[in-house]
Amino acid sequence: MTAKIQLIGVKKRFGAKQVLDGVDLEIAPGTSLVIIGGSGTGKSVTIKSILGILAPDEGRILVDGEDVTHLRGRTREPLMRKFGMLFQGGALFDSLPVWENVAFGLIQGRGMARATAKDIAISKLSKVGLSEYVAYLSPAELSGGMQKRVGLARAIAADPEIIFFDEPTTGLDPIMADVINDLIVATVKDVGATALSITHDMASARKISDNIAMLYGGRIIWQGPTDQIDHSGNPYVDQFIHGRAEGPIKMAVRK
């Protein structure tokens, strides 16, 4: 079976800093992979490279077996329709009411009639546990947890084949984080999508993933099923999942 997403030797450098140094990754259709790793290890850069927001310096990115590394502009549009993304801060458009945020991809991206798109938006909002009342509020009037939910509703509005989650639980209290985790699992299953998430929240990673990959030093240093993470035998992974300051990973505190 062809992998839904495949990265082959992806490299990306910013100035003197080699952020990605040959990332190889494969995600099977319908599975959920979580990339874990410390801050600044290139997790976001990996997702943004797949999305085409950043262009890798070297290597190839395949979606459904098709090389999409250098697709840009109009030729990229059909590919972008396969994607949905939940941003770390929600990234809701604050000039638009909640329902228009959710319906944005349908109206602007696919030219759907506003009335139809609005009905879909309201049904997607109910899927993430938000009432129709919320649909008419502005994003600034929502709490952090509600903004995440609206972001989730927006990500799944167009029934994408692949959904990306960028630190879905960051900035939320533990209970709300768990609610969001449950919602992610439920919605991904509901849409039947492949999911790629990045996080450093291990509770979230365990809950929403089938497989886990760890990014360190610009490469994937371990990858395996989620239930194997505690028996990885990899000292880097052990240090990270237990959150120890002492270990092979040296934090660049003295920079």
Binding site: G73, F93, G105
Partner: protein, 267 residues
């Protein structure tokens, strides 16, 4: 300090100059590429009519009070100064002619341009800059929407269309300001003042001012969008982008005003 240290110091200066020149060239390149992409996006579908309308209100309609007020006082001061200056040669009767010429050709578009630059370029840079640092621009991309087409094109089109209208309104108010001072304080007869104004101004005078205004509108929207798109970091980055947008659009307005005047009145 030894000889080699001196040499190192001098090399450092060259390195600094070199780096500054390289940065400047890179900036010009980035701006040219941004302008090119924006112009290409204007002529390719889809057209966001709704957004152009909204921006027309923000950029054009809501700038009317500032432009009107500055035009009014400019016209009034101009009439007073020309009267006092002309008085030295016994040429004070020339007030209406000079006022209309100065306003339509020069002060109308330039003052409207500078006021709108302060109001609109700053607002655009702050809004787009905030969208940039909160990943809203990336979000547009993931929702199959071209950010240039969605954010830049409506602002460019609205600014280019509304600046000539603002300037025309400002011209009229400026001339009215001159008229009021001349009639109230300087002893001109209203009908004569107006007749002299209308007889003296040619359509070329007015048109040249409106063409300048359209160019200034383009500069204002482009600078606002460009600096917004390139803002970095958090609140500080957005603040810097806002300042740069206003300063660069004012400088470019004044520089292009000279070039445009040379071109428009060379024939």
């Amino acid at each position: 300090m030894s000889r080699s240290d001196h040499l190192k110091d001098r090399m450092n200066i060259f390195a600094h100059i070199g780096r500054a020149v390289m940065d400047l060239l890179a900036e010009i390149g980035r701006l040219a590429s941004f302008t090119g992409r924006s112009l290409a996006a204007i002529v390719s579908p889809p057209v966001y009519g709704r957004l152009i309308g909204q921006q027309f209100v923000h950029i054009g309609f809501l700038s009317l009070p500032v432009v009107g007020l500055t035009a009014l006082s400019t016209g009034a001061v101009l009439a007073l100064q020309i009267y006092l200056g002309g008085n030295r040669y016994g040429a004070e009767a020339i007030v209406p002619q000079i006022v209309v010429l100065a306003i339509t050709r020069e002060l109308g578009p330039v003052i409207a341009g500078l006021m709108v630059a302060g109001r609109v370029a700053a607002a655009i840079a702050a809004e787009i800059g905030t969208m940039k640092v909160t990943e809203q621009i990336d979000a547009l991309t993931t929702l199959s929407t071209n950010p240039i087409k969605y954010l830049v094109v409506p602002r460019l089109v609205a600014a280019v269309l509304s600046m000539p209208i603002l300037t025309a309104v400002g011209d009229s108010i400026g001339i009215f300001g001159g008229y009021t001072v001349a009639v109230q304080n300087l002893g001109f007869t209203g009908s004569v003042y107006l007749k002299n104004t209308v007889d003296f101004a040619t359509s070329a005078d007015i048109m040249s001012g409106l063409i300048k205004a359209a160019v200034f509108g383009f500069i204002i929207a482009l600078m606002g969008c460009y600096h917004g798109f390139n803002s970095k970091g958090g609140a500080q980055g957005v603040g810097a982008a806002t300042t740069n947008a206003v300063v660069s659009s004012c400088i470019l307005i004044l520089a292009s005003d000279f070039i445009l005047t040379a071109i428009l009145f060379s024939a």
